[in-house]
């Protein structure tokens, strides 16, 4: 019998009512050969238990780096967190001791990556890798760990789990591997799961299976879920609220219905207009001009200004803060914000159209 020290951490916790995770003004920068890349420049978002937050943005907008900062898996150096707080149940993880942090990571917050094949160890059976979670954290013995592994595989609906528990990762298809990743994340029944593009590498039919599974398990365990993606369709399908990222900042936050009905930031607007729709045959697509900025030289003022159809003098001068967005009767919509000086015009524009 292996009895591990620290595995019997008391789970007594004072009741806590605020958001599960609250990221405040997070900054991350990378020192590179050519200069400092400011990958995250003041990100704010929060998730509560049972809630799904979708972080939406093009590649390079800093979605993964933010997630890695939360998980504490950034390589430092080259990364540096010059500023910001990451509050997990009200406690700042950035100022916590090493051991305390390690306890949270894995047990309380788990992460699912895009590339399941490279996140699994190719020379160990999936059963062993799943059981490992129990052995390391709860000191479960081998036999029991295997039983737990099979149970987990059944939970994520891998057919013939008992027979496949001894198989190696490469013997599974992409969708099955992603299920195994989900099983691994679920093993310790975390409070929060961060899924970084979990279905990007999968085909649509398999993608639908995996997303359904994730949503179902989330509501069953009443977990918080941060879903990172660049796919506006996936977001519309599962999210409760959305944070749109551009050049390392959140440019718009909104409940999912509001955002799709009437975006309050020109970038969101452009994104929605630029994707072809399956359910309608459109005319020419709207194309956002130009390209996302180089993070080593983010334009002054609003980072989106060189590409923005609405940009004025002020956009080139001042960095817009996240303005509170108000609805028709001038009362603020809870959870809505837009980092654009002209959010009102953008919002109403959408109404007309």
């Amino acid at each position: 019998m292996t009895t591990q020290v620290g595995s019997t951490m008391p789970v007594h916790e004072e009741p806590y009512s605020g958001p599960l995770l609250d990221v405040r003004d997070l900054h991350v920068e990378f020192k590179t050969r050519d200069g400092v890349a400011r990958a995250v420049n003041g990100v704010n978002y929060s998730v509560s238990a049972g809630e799904t937050l979708a972080v939406l943005g093009e590649s390079g907008s800093g979605k993964s780096v933010t997630a890695q900062a939360i998980m504490g898996i950034l390589d430092m150096p080259p990364a540096r967190i010059p500023q910001g707080e990451i509050l997990f149940r009200g406690k700042d993880m950035l100022t916590m001791g090493r051991e305390e942090r390690r306890q949270i990571r894995g047990q309380r917050i788990a992460m699912i990556f895009q590339d399941a094949l490279s996140s699994l160890n190719p020379v160990l059976t999936v059963g062993y890798q799943l059981g490992e979670m129990y052995r390391a954290h709860h000191g479960t013995d081998r036999k029991e760990a295997k039983a737990k592994a099979i149970e987990l595989m059944e939970r994520v609906r891998i057919p013939a789990a008992a027979e496949r528990v001894g198989d190696y990762p490469h013997q599974f298809s992409g969708g099955m591997r992603q299920r195994i990743m989900i099983a691994m994340a679920l093993a310790l029944e975390p409070d929060l799961i961060i899924a970084d593009e979990p279905t990007t590498a999968l085909d649509v039919t398999v993608q639908a299976q995996v997303m359904d599974l994730l949503a179902e398990l989330q509501s069953e365990y009443h977990m918080g879920l941060i879903l990172i993606t660049h796919d506006l369709g996936v977001v519309a399908d599962v999210a409760d609220k959305i944070a749109v990222m551009y050049a390392g900042r959140i440019v718009e936050t909104a409940p999912v219905h509001d955002l799709y009905a009437a975006p309050a930031h020109p970038y969101t607007r452009g994104l929605l207009d630029s994707i072809p729709r399956l359910d309608q045959k459109g005319q020419e697509l709207y194309a956002i001009k130009g390209l996302p900025p180089n993070l080593m030289r983010i334009p002054p003022g609003c980072a989106f200004n060189p590409r923005c159809p609405r940009a004025q003098e002020i956009c080139r001068r001042e960095v817009p803060r996240l303005f509170e967005v108000t609805g028709d009767n001038d009362s603020p919509v809870p959870g809505r914000g837009s980092a654009c000086f002209f959010w009102k015009e953008t919002l109403h524009d959408a109404d007309d159209a």
Binding site: K289, G290, N294, P299
Partner: protein, 335 residues
């Protein structure tokens, strides 16, 4: 921050005022398909002359101290090999046993015959170190050239054409892979009654080409699969164009790196063979021969051994450092 310190493309205002053709307001003459979107992100394309990857590598190399030091050393060695007279007036073969037998170095006699002392036959160690460079450098460079040409060609043929030519060449490579370089050279050189620099070159090249062929074959195989080669085929490009425009320029980088590093290895091999008495022979001045004959004086006159040995180590180190620097500069992952 003082303005003049910033390179051109760090101008903070350039995002506000598009001033040159790099910017967003390019409008095509034909008006076709040209919206503002076209274009050109100012940050991706720097305001610099277009540079090839080699150009980038070169700019990168120039900033590396290791590369600069190794290049200077190699230039010095080349000068020694070509014009030893530039460095010393002394005759490396002149022996005065009566006066100079193991005479201690005179460290005040800069560049003089007695600077590094005299060896067991009363010859100037300094002069012999200078003249010994020629054999080492010749062997190193000639073997490398031969190996790159023969191995490179074989590797390219095997990688590009595949099939039976690949099967034959790969089997030969496998056979040679089992033969240690030194042991093989020992056996081969035994067959020569008079051994010159060239016999050593032939022996080492004969045994060494397979390493380069292996590297080249792997590199060609990978690049042959790449989309731009497929695109060339789709355009109707012939074998010659595909090989020499598309595959070779992209496949040589690892070959150059391996060749530079192994150059040091061939120099060591020559010295070792000479030390063992199976490489170069006496009238030829070689560090290996000198190290060998200095052994017996190691207690009484260690300097006789020290200077040729140091010269040999520095030379090998210079080439290995250069290979390392080139590898880093050509590695796209680090860019």
């Amino acid at each position: 921050m003082p303005e003049h310190d910033l390179p051109d493309d760090h101008d903070p205002l350039r995002h506000i005022q598009p001033t040159d053709s790099d910017h967003l307001d390019y409008v095509g003459q034909q008006g076709l398909a040209v919206e503002q979107d076209t274009l050109i992100e100012p940050d991706v394309i720097k305001r610099e002359e277009a540079r090839s990857l080699w150009g980038h590598a070169w700019r990168d190399l120039r900033r590396r101290p290791i590369f600069i030091v190794s290049t200077l050393l190699i230039i010095l060695l080349l000068l020694m090999a070509i014009w030893p007279g530039l460095f010393t007036d002394a005759n490396p073969r002149q022996a005065d046993l009566a006066h100079d037998f193991l005479r201690k170095p005179d460290y005040t006699d800069f560049f003089g015959a007695g600077w590094f002392g005299y060896d067991g036959q009363g010859r100037s160690v300094y002069a012999r170190v200078i003249y010994g460079a020629r054999a080492s450098i010749t062997v190193g460079i000639c073997v490398t050239l031969a190996v790159v040409i023969v191995g490179g060609l074989a590797g390219m043929v095997a990688g590009y054409f595949g099939g039976w030519s690949d099967a034959v060449i790969s089997r030969i490579i496998d056979i040679f892979f089992g033969i240690p370089l030194l042991l093989g050279a020992l056996v081969l050189l035994n067959a020569f009654s008079v051994r010159t620099v060239w016999s050593v070159v032939v022996a080492l090249a004969f045994l060494g080409w397979t390493q380069l062929a292996r590297v080249m074959r792997g590199s060609v195989l990978t690049i042959k699969q790449s989309d731009y080669v497929v695109a060339g085929r789709a355009l109707g490009a012939g074998t010659g164009r595909l090989m020499f425009r598309h595959i070779l320029p992209n496949a040589v980088a690892p070959v150059i790196v391996v060749a530079t590093i192994s150059l040091g290895g061939y120099i060591t091999a020559e010295a070792t063979l000479s030390f063992l008495g199976i490489g170069l022979q006496d009238p030829t001045i070689s560090w290996g021969v000198d190290i060998s004959s200095a052994q017996k004086f190691i207690r009484t006159a260690p300097f006789v051994l020290f200077f040729p040995a140091a010269a040999l180590s520095l030379t090998v180190l210079a080439f290995i450092m250069m290979g390392d620097a080139v590898r880093d500069a050509l590695d796209p992952k680090l860019r």
